[in-house]
């Protein structure tokens, strides 16, 4: 009821191979998030699954049957677009009803389903408005409503929250997570916001230049990034990556330590540095510390009440259990 398998799927636009052959299994009911830097092929991959692009090679199976050549409307998937792609000339009700109308349902059935969806999404009072009269979050909900009513075997989301402001984003993030819990339908979700990825996903797929760098649960990726790319990409603020003699001490090409795993120690510590800019968030403070011999300043997370000032000298000690080591190929050394 929502198992999607990609088998050696390859995509080239003309001569440019955007996605080299790639295998992926998405299990029924899973919430899978594709993350990766801009232009890495996230949207393309999603559109291949949707059928909005033709695969160049390989096979896409949905629930075991070959869907590679099926038209988008036949795949039983629903998609929520970044721009929401609402139909501007139709009321919210009509927008949500559109897929049902296309499926040839009777007006009664349509009404029932639309009302049910509107209730779930708290859209009751907006049903007769046009999309242009809605706020960003409401539009987003309409787009989801349009997807829900079809009872698809899987939902595809392409950066659905990127047009919303920060506060709304947090709210909608929770709503989508809850929706997933409630419907237990497969969801494939594209984002480049790693907070979204971490908080929503059952399984994260990290993409880089069309290649899968790592697949795993959010915490797997956080705890054991398979390579330098994933290490740098997952976690906020970014993991500090240190090369050179310091790394060599640990028999590695590169070592990595997250800001939250660096302790500010009184008196003595592993490293000594000078405090640069500090960012006080109230709950936390991020210090940028320049350590002699390191190429880039280290970011250190401390509590909200720590008082250190520009130019202070401090001592830092990494949590050895949380030290990541990578070899010359950038791969994790276990």
């Amino acid at each position: 009821m929502g198992r999607i398998t990609l088998d050696k799927v390859r995509k080239a636009f003309g001569d440019v191979e955007v996605i080299p052959p790639l295998d992926l299994r998405i299990e029924d009911g899973e919430f899978v998030v594709f993350v990766g830097p801009s232009g890495c092929g996230k949207s393309t991959l999603l559109r291949l699954i949707a059928g909005l692009e033709d695969v160049t090679d390989g096979e896409i199976r949905i629930d075991g049957t070959d869907a590679t050549r099926l038209s988008p409307s036949k795949r039983g998937l629903a998609m929520v677009f970044q721009s929401y792609a609402l139909y501007p000339h139709m009321s919210v009700r009509k927008n949500i009803a559109f897929p049902l109308k296309m499926a040839g349902l009777s007006q009664d059935q349509i009404d029932a389903k639309v009302n049910a969806a509107a209730k779930v999404l708290n859209l009751d009072s907006y049903l007769d408005r046009r999309p242009g009269q809605l706020s960003g979050g409401q539009r987003q909900r309409v787009a989801i409503g349009r997807a829900i009513v079809r009872e698809p075997s899987a939902f595809l989301f392409d950066e659905p929250l990127s047009n919303l402001d920060a506060a709304l984003r947090v709210g909608m993030r929770l709503e989508i997570s809850e929706l997933h819990k409630r419907l237990a339908t497969t969801m494939v979700y594209v984002t480049h916001d790693q907070v979204e990825a971490m908080t929503m996903a059952d399984k994260i797929v990290v993409l880089n230049a069309g290649r899968i760098e790592q697949v795993g649960s959010p915490l797997d990726l956080y705890r054991a990034p398979r390579n330098v790319f994933v290490a740098g990409f997952i976690g906020s603020p970014k993991m500090n990556l240190i090369t050179g003699p310091e790394a060599a001490k640990h028999d590695a090409q590169t070592i990595g330590i997250r800001p939250e795993h660096l302790a500010v120690t009184d008196g003595a510590g592993t490293w000594t540095g000078t405090v640069g800019v500090s960012e006080h968030l109230g709950s936390d403070t991020f210090f940028h510390v320049t350590v002699e011999g390191f190429d880039t300043p280290l970011t250190v997370r401390a509590g909200g009440e720590v008082s250190l000032h520009y130019g202070d000298t401090i001592h830092l000690t990494p949590d050895p259990a949380q030290l990541h080591r990578f070899d010359a190929q950038g791969l994790r050394i276990a």
Binding site: L52, S73, M79, A85, Y87, H89, F98, P99, M102
Partner: protein, 288 residues
Amino acid sequence: MATQHSRSAARVMMAPAVFLLLVWMLVPLILTLWFSTLDYRPMRGTFDCCEGLGNYTRFVTSSAFLSSVVTTLQLVGGVLLITVIGGILLANLLDQPIWGQGVVRILVIAPFFVMPTVSALVWKNMFMNPVNGLFAHLFKAFGLQPIDWLSQAPLFSIILIVSWQWLPFATLILLTAIQSLDSEQMEAAEMDGAGPLSRFYHMTLPHLARSITVVVLIQTIFLLSIFAEIYVTTGGAFGTRTLTYLVYQRVIESQNVGLGSAGGIIAVILANIVALVLMRVVGKNLDA
């Protein structure tokens, strides 16, 4: 944006255009209004005061008036129908992937550049002439009796000629509009199970509403004053006399300036009524 400063600047900057247009509208209009109350027939040497509303009653009650209004509406309506429908279809076709799209577009645009007089002359003589015209040759080649377009289907022929000139305009505007249709919206509709026809009906057409409005508005303004095409082809005979043409006949052919001026004023009033109706009916599309 709107500070005191910029508002007063705006007033100053609008002034020349508004002033000129006001003068351009009012001076001839007032003169025309004045003439329309006179018995002004240069050929009789009369320039006499005080016909009152006589010219108006004569113009309106003359047998030609009502039919000219109907003809005007038929002409404008017919051309709008052909160009809008044709424009939508053609724009959709040109939006498809085709080889040599640029060249085809050039071919389609070309009639828009042709002077109305020239196009009427060419169509009348070289195509619609029942003996030497190309259509006649064509009909004969198929063993058919050539049609005398300009007397058997005069209004239709003129509509055809005018449509030929304005189809490019409609097509261009609608094509640009179609190309601005958000592709994600189309994809969403496709995901929602809409076939090509449904997509056309439910997505493309509503998206085009605004552009169609613009086409209708602009074309109506120009079509109401169509002149050369009628002048060259039928000279207003066979029920092709529009209101504009009737005024022309009164002013130029009968040299009855008073009567013609009254007709002109009536034409202005009617045109503005049409415009108002148009704004009411379609105008709200403009301000989406």
